[in-house]
Symmetry: C2
Subunit: 439 residues, 2 copies
Amino acid sequence: MAERPQPLDQMKEQREHYLQLDPLGVAEELARLEAADRAKAFRLLKKQKAMAVFQLLDTAHQEELVSSLRDEQVLRLVQELDPDDRARLFDEMPAAVVRRLLAGLSPRERRLTAMLLGFPEESAGRIMSPKFIRLVPEMTVADALERVRRRGKDAETIYALPVTDEELRLVGAVELRDLLLAEPETRVGEIMNPEVRAVRVDEDQEKVARLIQAADLLALPVVDTENRLVGVVTVDDAMDVLGAEEEEDLARTGAAEPLGRPYFSASIFRLARSRATWLLLLAIAAILTVKVLSAFENTLESVVTLTLFIPLLIGTGGNAGAQSATTIVRSMALDDIRPGDLVRVILREGRVGLLLGTMLGGLSFVPVWIFTDRALALVISLTLVTVCTLASLVGSLMPLLARRVGVDPAVVSAPFVSTIVDATGLLVYFLIARAVLGL
Amino acid sequence: MAERPQPLDQMKEQREHYLQLDPLGVAEELARLEAADRAKAFRLLKKQKAMAVFQLLDTAHQEELVSSLRDEQVLRLVQELDPDDRARLFDEMPAAVVRRLLAGLSPRERRLTAMLLGFPEESAGRIMSPKFIRLVPEMTVADALERVRRRGKDAETIYALPVTDEELRLVGAVELRDLLLAEPETRVGEIMNPEVRAVRVDEDQEKVARLIQAADLLALPVVDTENRLVGVVTVDDAMDVLGAEEEEDLARTGAAEPLGRPYFSASIFRLARSRATWLLLLAIAAILTVKVLSAFENTLESVVTLTLFIPLLIGTGGNAGAQSATTIVRSMALDDIRPGDLVRVILREGRVGLLLGTMLGGLSFVPVWIFTDRALALVISLTLVTVCTLASLVGSLMPLLARRVGVDPAVVSAPFVSTIVDATGLLVYFLIARAVLGL
């Protein structure tokens, strides 16, 4: 959209409007504007509010604003971010800009940010906060509370507190609630939970987030290879990770890449780009179906009626395959299905597919007989049984095999499975038709 | 799976094994057992551990255990649950059992649980905790901390504290962190955030959870129609809601209903049931494609080659429709797209579809020309352009219209759109073929 001239009184009105909203309200409104209007609107905010709003924006919008505001203002905004949010933003920006911004930070913030950027993308190290409050078991509860009061302003969370020995090795954790309810002279070692879970700094971010979700944690300690505490991942970051992973899985089940930003803030071109590769690759894979049909052109010429059921049969097979693939991919993400479960899964999915195919094959026999003839009804029913079973097997096998060869199972998702099942389904259909109809 | 006799030493070994695991570890192992083995394994746990494990299990597994343990043990487990978790469990159980269990609770727990069960399903009232600590603005920070210490044991959270007036009307909120860092004689009214967000007790649970996620909250106050505080929703419950909603959306995009339990804890029959209705309904909808093809049987007989491209064309149309539907449904769930945005969305999606169709149509022209002839190449290209545009329009329009008539947009998801697009795509294909080939 072109830049629109904005009269002064309209700007004043908008400024008044933003004064009435809380920072989240402003952030929500900004997310719905077109890119050109967003920076203009952001400039209307007062300093304090601008900071609060900036922290609540998506990384994509933060990055967009950074490239359209003055350097001095950008530096102020970036200095105020938590190191993990800052690292996420820097990831999206050109290296030259990152270097300039890093140079403008205070030495401590620069050191912390550089440390996080040193960990692999999508690892625990990238989403953790290095600003934590550490307790030791020998401390009294009164000392611990005093430490929380003294350092609480700077720490990302004070509600879940890791406990370490002198060498920074994690030995337990204590919730602020337990400190507050305990007698002041009790030792931290007596009330801490020594069975605390922790993750390694190179652990996958989705695993970290799922653990926080499953165990109802407010924060999870992150340790290095020698079990030394290096940071904590907080629940709000875990929610953001799960939101992003959810968007990715859902997008791929719908044959697209995730947008990574709100719908209206993505341009038409960006929307098309997120879909083009998938659409093209799936169309190329679908050339298989043209090949199969060419091979059976003679059969089709002699019994044109066979054509009528092609979309229904491959559609049903595609759906059965999609059902299976979606269930398996999701269960693998949740760790409900593990790599060693391959045979157990295949056996289950094969039976489910057979059950569903038998149901559909049984239900379709009489109607098809009535509208065409008995031989064709038999062909359709047998094809439905076979295709549904096959589709469930392919739909479960492909994501499992993908992981074995090191590919993200979510890539081998519903639309991909459907396309493969289309071609094999056609093959099955014509082989059964030839056998039953004696062609 | 049939009950297997379990030798004593094997049981002893399993008990030892569970002693080594933390409650979450035991809960994870239990979730992977077949139903019959789960209750047996659970009985091996010591009392304290059993409670902790029970609280971490899925509602589906809790319900399963409740029906296979002794009443006395069940009552102890249920009494220890938070009222919101208890309400969720009771929802899944037969009314007679619920009455018996309610009668066994302490009067206070019974009253709180009954209150939650009185709110509509999937509302804020169902997932909130009625056990909160309330502050008033006139209190000093020292008094507030004293109240937190005194009542902290029983409250679901002490980290985010709502502030109300004498009539229980919400006037603000304060984080425990701010209390702890403030001077003891400061008034709560001076440090509280008066712009606190709250939700009505009948608000949809997904909206509540998304708000907690967007604003990085630890807890969100819930109020009645007169703005009086009745509970708080905590971040761990928000994560569970988002997990469940995610499972639902993803399952439907893959043409199935959510399982609501881990993969291996669902029987073959339950797996098949979660898919059967969708598969059957979509097959019935696909009869439309048979109808369209029957209408063009003469065309097919005269140019059999047209058949070869049917799966590729409708597959591509289906994918384009799925892409659009998945994006729109997700954006509606996130409130990025609102009901009033219908025209704006249609215009965007139409252009995206046209862009994608033009790309595919352009790329396919020369290859199809080489392998068949120029007229057919023209038919295929024109069909791709039209079908992709149409599919994007249908894919975006259907979820938007669904919400207008009060249907959950997620029901009108990718597979449903694909099936509709299949039939219209065939119609377009044959009309273009007839026109171009002069049939």
